[in-house]
């Protein structure tokens, strides 16, 4: 029997990369709408996982900020055994400024040192009666840049300072710098450890949540294959859906975190008593927010990809 004319194939609507991408994105959003409950559950689970991670990051960022502000105390004082001429001061401070890690340099003359000393003896100024400024040495006070305040960098800096013949003695609170350095290392190690565990937990939770989402639609995957869809055609909307879930989950987490942060600031008086507020709390910087959103999208994509491999066997 002769075959009648088959259904006339119309012009394809999704030719080219843009056309295909448009279809896949549209399909992903339709899929989300059609499976709204599963998607909402998935997004909320991802949000909870990322809320823990972003809360940890917020605490870590602020803790690092507070501890970094403590490092402002790191100061090096170089003493001279005589008063330097203004020409010598200009020359020496110029050379010191040229040393890597120098933030600022200030010359303290004997007169200035005496005035400061006098100021500290409030009420007991009579103790200095008959004493001349010559008993105090002139000095140079140096503050270092933040990245040069660890004990190793400070020690190297001091060694270079000692090479100037005008300088007789250098003081910089060696013990304090070392203890501070150890403390910062401990904070960083603990942060990396806890952060690492949280990141692993987030990966595990997100990957399994997306796996369950895909598992609940394995019939759809199977059918698509049976009606002749290519792997790419089946996978692409699911991968985009995974990315949307990841980004939506992170966005929800950041929204909740912002709300919690604002509430915390609103009640700042309660916490100011324990000194948290003095250093000035900050929210997560833009780079961290972008990294979290990117991480959500990447995890959603990878989670979908890994799960799809198990279900699509064309």
């Amino acid at each position: 029997m002769p075959r009648e004319k088959a259904a006339k194939r119309p012009k394809l609507a999704r030719e080219g990369v843009t056309g295909r991408l448009h279809y896949f994105v549209e399909r992903a959003f339709i899929n989300i709408r059609q499976n709204v409950l599963v998607n909402v559950l998935s997004i909320v689970t991802i949000a909870l996982a990322f809320l823990i991670l972003s809360l940890f990051l917020l605490v870590y960022v602020n803790l690092e900020r507070v501890t970094a502000s403590w490092s402002d105390r790191v100061q090096i004082t170089a003493y001279f055994d005589r008063e330097l001429s203004s020409g010598e001061v200009t020359d020496l401070t110029g050379k010191i400024r040229a040393i890597h890690g120098t933030l600022d340099v200030g010359y303290i003359s004997r007169e200035e040192a005496f005035r400061r000393f006098y100021g500290r003896l409030k009420g007991q100024e009579s103790l200095l009666e008959g004493v001349s400024p010559e008993i105090l040495p002139s000095s140079i006070e140096i503050r270092l840049k933040r990245d040069s305040r660890d004990s190793q960098s400070v020690a190297t800096y001091v060694t270079r300072l000692r090479q100037f013949p005008e300088i007789k003695e250098v003081q910089y609170g060696e013990e304090w710098v070392k203890r501070f350095d150890d403390f910062m290392n401990l904070i960083r190690f603990a942060g990396a450890l806890v952060g690492g565990f949280i990141v692993l937990a987030v990966i595990f939770i997100v990957a399994n949540t997306i796996k369950l989402t895909i598992y609940s639609r394995k019939d759809e995957l199977e059918l698509m294959g049976l009606v002749g869809a290519t792997r790419m055609f089946i996978k692409a909307p699911f991968l985009i859906e995974g990315m949307i879930q990841g980004v939506a989950g992170v966005a929800l987490a950041l929204l909740v975190l912002t709300g919690a942060y604002m509430a915390f600031l609103h009640n700042a008086d309660i916490f100011s008593g324990i000194g948290i507020m003095e250093s000035g709390l900050v929210f997560l910087p833009l780079s961290h927010l972008a990294a979290l959103l990117f991480g959500g999208a990447a995890l959603g994509f990878m989670g979908s990809l890994a799960s799809l491999k198990k279900f699509i066997a064309l």
Partner: protein, 222 residues
């Protein structure tokens, strides 16, 4: 259209589903595959649409030996075949329109053309008024017709139907069979797996009887 050469299929070492099946089905033919449950009808259909690969033998569909077909080329073959599954395989979260449209979406049709074509095929199977319903709101017979509409919507060269009239009342059976006959008249080769002897007898079409994985009778050969 279909050539089977000494096809054998075993799921496990000692569980043979098909053994030495050889048959030829020409273009435009309407053939019933029949036999008791477990005779191998569904397995044979699965081999025809590439869901399974035979343990031995060759399966040639429309000139393509699918036993040697790389997985990347299987989708192209499946687009020429409309399959009516025994369990319908309708997606519960999608409407009737969306369920039928899948076949055309895969082919890359545009939305407007899909809507027109789906409406047309649903009208043919008498379900145009259910276009926006979800499968769960349909009766068994209606679900079966949606599954058929999905298989027929792109006028495939080959239609494979696995027990399309199982569990349906007489009226629905007639309707489903009429739709398949119509598709056959339009030029599609149709292979229907069924154990409904009365349907076969009334149709006066070719039938192949399977028993324990062997062809025991082929009306065309007699």
């Amino acid at each position: 259209m279909i050539q089977l050469h000494n096809v054998c299929m075993s799921y496990q070492r000692d569980a043979t589903a098909l053994s030495g099946i050889s048959a030829k089905i020409s273009k435009g033919e309407f053939v019933f595959l029949t036999g008791v449950s477990g005779a191998g009808k569904s397995t044979l259909l699965k081999l025809l649409y590439g869901a399974l690969k035979p343990t031995r033998g060759q399966v040639v569909i429309d000139g393509v030996n699918i036993t040697k077909l790389p997985p990347s080329q299987l989708p192209a073959l499946r687009r020429k075949i409309g399959v009516v599954f025994q369990d319908f395989k309708l997606l519960p979260s999608r409407t009737v329109l969306e369920n039928v449209a899948i076949t055309l979406e895969v082919l890359g049709w545009g939305k407007k053309d899909i809507n027109k074509r789906v409406y047309h095929i649903l009208k043919q199977v008498g379900l145009e008024h259910k276009i926006n319903s979800t499968p769960i709101r349909l009766s068994g017979g209606e679900q079966q017709r949606v599954a058929m509409a999905r298989a027929l919507v792109n006028d495939p060269k080959l239609i494979l139907a696995d027990e399309p009239t199982g569990n349906l009342d007489e009226e629905s059976k007639e309707r489903v069979f009429a739709i398949l006959k119509e598709a056959n008249v339009r030029g599609s080769t149709v292979v229907v797996a069924t154990h409904d002897r009365r349907l076969i007898e009334n149709s006066h079409k070719r039938f192949i009887v399977l028993d324990k994985g062997h062809v025991t009778e082929d009306s065309d050969a007699s």
